[in-house]
């Protein structure tokens, strides 16, 4: 149960962090390949989420 709570906190934190990123006003500028530069922070968040999903899958669901 304790382990379950830890995962709940981790995923809630990533979710809240994503909301913070989405809310945050950014200057619109172009980055690599002409994509908006903020898209790379969203991609980073997505990788973070996938990484924790991977760990969750490996460590929690046995």
């Amino acid at each position: 149960m304790e382990k379950g709570k830890t995962w709940l906190i981790i995923f809630s934190s990533i979710f809240l962090l994503s909301q913070f990123y989405f809310f945050k006003k950014d200057d619109t500028s172009l980055g690599i390949l002409g994509f908006p530069s903020w898209i790379y922070s969203i991609l980073f968040l997505q990788f973070l989420l996938i990484f924790f999903i991977y760990l969750f899958n490996k460590k929690y669901w046995k």
Binding site: F11, Q19, T28, G34, P36, W38, Q46
Partner: protein, 474 residues
Amino acid sequence: MVYIILISYLALTFWSSLIGSKTKNETPESYFLADRNLGVITLFFTLIATNFSAFFFLGFAGVGYKLGYSFYAEMAFGTTLAALSFFLIGNKVWKLGKEKGYITPIELIHKESNNSFLKWVYLITMMLFTFPYIAIQPQGAGILLESLTQEEISSHWGAILLTIIIIIYVLIGGMKSVAKTDVKQGVMMIILMIAAVFAIAYQLGGLDEAHQKVFDIKPELFSKDAGGKYTPQKWFSVCILWIACVPMFPQLFMRFFISKDLKTFKTSTLLYAIIPFFLFLLPVIIGVLGHLSFPDLSTKKEIDYILPKMLVEHTAPWFYTLVMTGALAAFMSTLDSQLLALSTITTRDIYLPFSKKKISLQQQVNIGRIGVIIFAFIGLIIALNPIGTIEEIIKMAFSGLAVLFPTTLFVLHYKKTNATACAISIIVGELIIIGMNMGWISKESVLGFDAVVPALFLSTLIIIIGSILYPKNK
């Protein structure tokens, strides 16, 4: 050329379904769940081909044209979040399915909660909100076929023709055929979409240059809030919607039963979490670049067709036909799975409980087959007399299904869940969804959130309070 490509694609689809049907389908588990024996690749492709309907091909590019890259962020992040809910629900569903032989989501909820009232509320809600989604598949496929054949085949006849083709291959082999064709259709969707982006970007002088040109005329397409259209409430609402609604599609839910083991399910789900980050970007790029070739599109139909317009403008006719056939594949792979899921539910959860005599397993399969035909034609009738635009239908159907999420989660993970509270939570949640869509409840009264947020909040609260006050005795 158009007909050669189309006929080749349909022949390939039939060939796949025939391969899928080579093994006998004499038991419900075999026909409806492919013997619970799918491997990683098949399960992964059947998950994405079933979930990414033609909205992925046409709708994403259209909304990309309107809102720009913020829409990509919403869809990609939301779909990865949905993979998390696959883990929360799918693992337990797979285990229970294996142990107790469940075939449908309703069977699982009914037996695990031991409550008939909840069963019927859950069943009616699931079917009611899946029907409109079924109807938009032939509706869209018909329009696509009309455009592909330059109106030689009308959208009505196109919808009828494609529905009949789908009925035939679902009847031949059930889930095995559907899964086999999903793999081909999924691969086709991905390869063709990548090729389309490369071809268009190349014609426009490369991604860097093309982006810069669009940025000069429409900088709001590159902003995170789409020029003020994405409020914090909107972001929150869409993230919550994807988490709750995707695993509740009956055609997706049933895929939690069919993996050959837990490891297969976990690996496929992980791949499902990864794929949106690059796949969803592709149609949105085409939508954004569409402003260079078609800067002043205003009607919804024009905007929804930005992808075919860009292909016609920048690629050869054979390539355009090929990519549009990929869109057709996306329509078909979603519709076949929806038909199979609803016919399974009808056989197992409606016909069997009311049938006085005992029916054999083979008879159950045959009833399922009749169900496929009936539901396909009901969907077709709705498609020929549409009840709203594709966007309106999707919005209502997805939110309606999302309301089932708290009940599913609690029944699976909390033994003291009160089933009556779950049933009440679904009814209250749906009333909020309908009330907000009909305009009876204003958006301001729920702090600017979409209907799904207050509906899920209240539903969850009802289950928690009900289960604390009247816990189920085990």
